[in-house]
Amino acid sequence: MIVVIDQHSGVPVFRQLRDQIRFQIISGMLESGEELPSTRALSEELGLNPMTISKAYSRLEMEGLVEKRPGLCLVVKQLDTNDIDTRRLTHFRQSAKSVAAVAKQLGLSKETAMEVFAEILDGANGDKERG
C-alpha cells in the first residue's frame, strides 16, 4: 500500500489517508482480504502520529470498507458489485464537481467542456501506461 501525504496542505492528514486508502479499495488496487499495515508500522513509515492512523482506520471501518480480524489486524472487506459501483460513482461525482466548477469559472459552454472531456477520456483509453 502506497500513500503520499502532504502534511502542509491543510487537509487533515487522517482525511488524506482515509481518502487514499478508500480510493485504492474501490478501484481494486487493494483486494479484498488484503491486510492493512499496523498502526505502528504505518506511523513510523510515514512519520505520522499514530492517533492519526487509527483515526483514518476507524473511519474506513465505519464506512464498511475494512474489518478487524482476530489478532486485530485490519483487512479489506469483500464488497458486492452493486456496493462498489455506488461508491465508485460517488467518488467520481465528487472529482467531476471541481472540474465542472473550473469550466463554469472559465465561461466554457457545456458543449465545449463535454467535447474536451470526451477527447481526454478517449486519449486516456489509448494510453497504455495509464492502466
Binding site: Q7, H8, S9, G10, P12, V13, G47, L48, N49
Partner: protein
C-alpha cells in the same frame, strides 16, 4: 485518560506584567502536543511552571500527579527538557558531557544515545563550546531523551536545525511515543515543523489559552473560499463567520470559520460559486489571535 500535567487557574505576574492569566489546561498522557503562540505569549513561562522552575502567583500546577513546586528526584527522573537556550559545560567534549549527565540516571540508554549521535551526525569528540547552534540543539535533545522520560518538554527545539536533522528529530519523537509512551509538548512558532507530528494544539495568546483542540478539528474549522459570481459583487459580505475578505467585481477571497455546512446556503443566497480549501497551520495561526490582524 490521566493527565501528564494540569494547570488550574494559574496566574503568573512579573511586577505589573501578567505573563499567564488565570490559565486552566490539562495535557493528556501519551500524546504529542504543539504549544504555539506569538513571542511573549507565555509559552516558556508555562513550561517553567510545569517543572517547578517558576512558581505561580496564584493557582496550581500538577505534573505527573505531583505539585510542580515540590517535584522530587523521582518525578524529575521522568521528565526531559530542552530549553531554548541550552546551558552546557562548554569545556567538556560531547562524549564527556553525555557521560556526566548519564551519571545522574540509573536507566540511561546508551544504545539510544549512540544511535542518535549517529543519526544526527554529532561528533562525540567535539568540544561543546565550539558546537554550532544547530549541533548544540542536537546535543540538548539527546541529553533530554536517553533516560526514557515519561514527559518531554521541548521549547523551540528545532529552530537551528537543518531540514534533514529536523525530519530525523520529528521521526524520533514518534518513536518515543511508541517505545516510552511518552507525552511530548513542543513549543514552536515554526508551524511546518510541528504540523506533521502533533495531534493536539494549544495556542497561547497574551497569557491565555485561545485554542485547545485537536489539529484535525482546527483544520476543519478554518477554510479559504474562492467565490465567483456572474453578477458584480455588491460590497463586503457581512456574515460574522467571515474573518477576512478581499473582493473585486466578480471574485471574492474569504477566510471563514465553522462554515463547512454553509457553502450551499451561501451559494444560493448570493447566486455565486464557492470553491472551499483547507488552510494549513501556518495560515490558521494569525486567525487565532485577538485583534492581531
Amino acid at each position: 485518560m490521566e493527565s501528564a500535567f494540569e494547570l488550574e487557574k494559574l496566574t503568573k505576574k512579573f511586577g505589573g506584567l501578567i505573563a499567564l492569566d488565570d490559565l486552566t489546561l490539562s495535557i493528556p498522557e501519551r500524546s504529542i502536543v504543539g504549544l504555539i503562540g506569538r513571542n511573549g505569549s507565555g509559552k516558556t513561562t508555562l513550561l517553567h511552571h510545569v517543572v517547578g522552575l517558576q512558581l505561580p502567583s496564584s493557582g496550581r500546577c500538577t505534573t505527573l500527579g505531583h505539585p510542580a513546586a515540590t517535584l522530587g528526584s523521582e518525578q524529575l527522573a521522568n521528565i526531559g527538557v530542552v530549553w531554548q537556550e541550552n546551558r552546557f559545560l562548554d569545556w567538556m567534549t560531547v562524549d564527556k558531557h553525555l557521560r556526566y549527565v548519564a551519571s545522574f540516571y540509573q536507566n540511561w540508554d546508551r544504545d539510544r544515545e549512540q544511535r542518535l549521535l549517529g543519526d544526527l551526525e554529532l561528533d562525540p569528540a567535539a568540544r561543546v563550546g565550539t558546537l554550532s547552534p544547530g549541533n548544540a540543539q542536537k546535543l540538548g535533545i539527546i541529553l533530554a531523551v536517553c533516560h526514557h522520560p515519561k514527559l518531554l518538554l521541548l521549547d523551540e527545539p528545532m529552530s537551528a536545525l537543518d531540514p534533514i536533522s529536523r525530519e530525523q528529530v520529528l521521526a524520533f519523537l514518534i518513536e518515543l511515543l511508541h517505545e516510552d509512551q511518552a507525552t511530548t509538548v513542543i513549543s514552536s512558532h515554526v508551524m511546518r515543523d510541528i504540523e506533521s507530528v502533533v495531534e493536539w494544539i494549544v495556542c497561547l495568546d497574551r497569557g491565555r489559552v485561545s485554542v485547545d483542540s485537536s489539529l484535525d478539528d482546527l483544520q476543519d474549522r478554518y477554510s479559504e473560499w474562492q467565490v465567483t459570481s456572474a453578477r458584480p459583487i455588491a460590497g463586503d459580505f457581512k456574515e460574522p463567520w467571515v474573518l477576512s475578505q478581499r473582493t473585486n467585481e466578480h471574485k471574492a477571497h474569504l477566510l471563514v470559520r465553522d462554515a463547512g455546512e454553509l457553502i450551499e446556503w451561501f451559494e444560493t443566497k448570493y447566486d455565486v460559486d464557492v470553491q472551499s480549501q483547507s488552510l494549513n497551520l501556518e495560515r490558521i495561526f494569525p486567525l487565532l489571535h485577538r485583534g492581531s490582524r
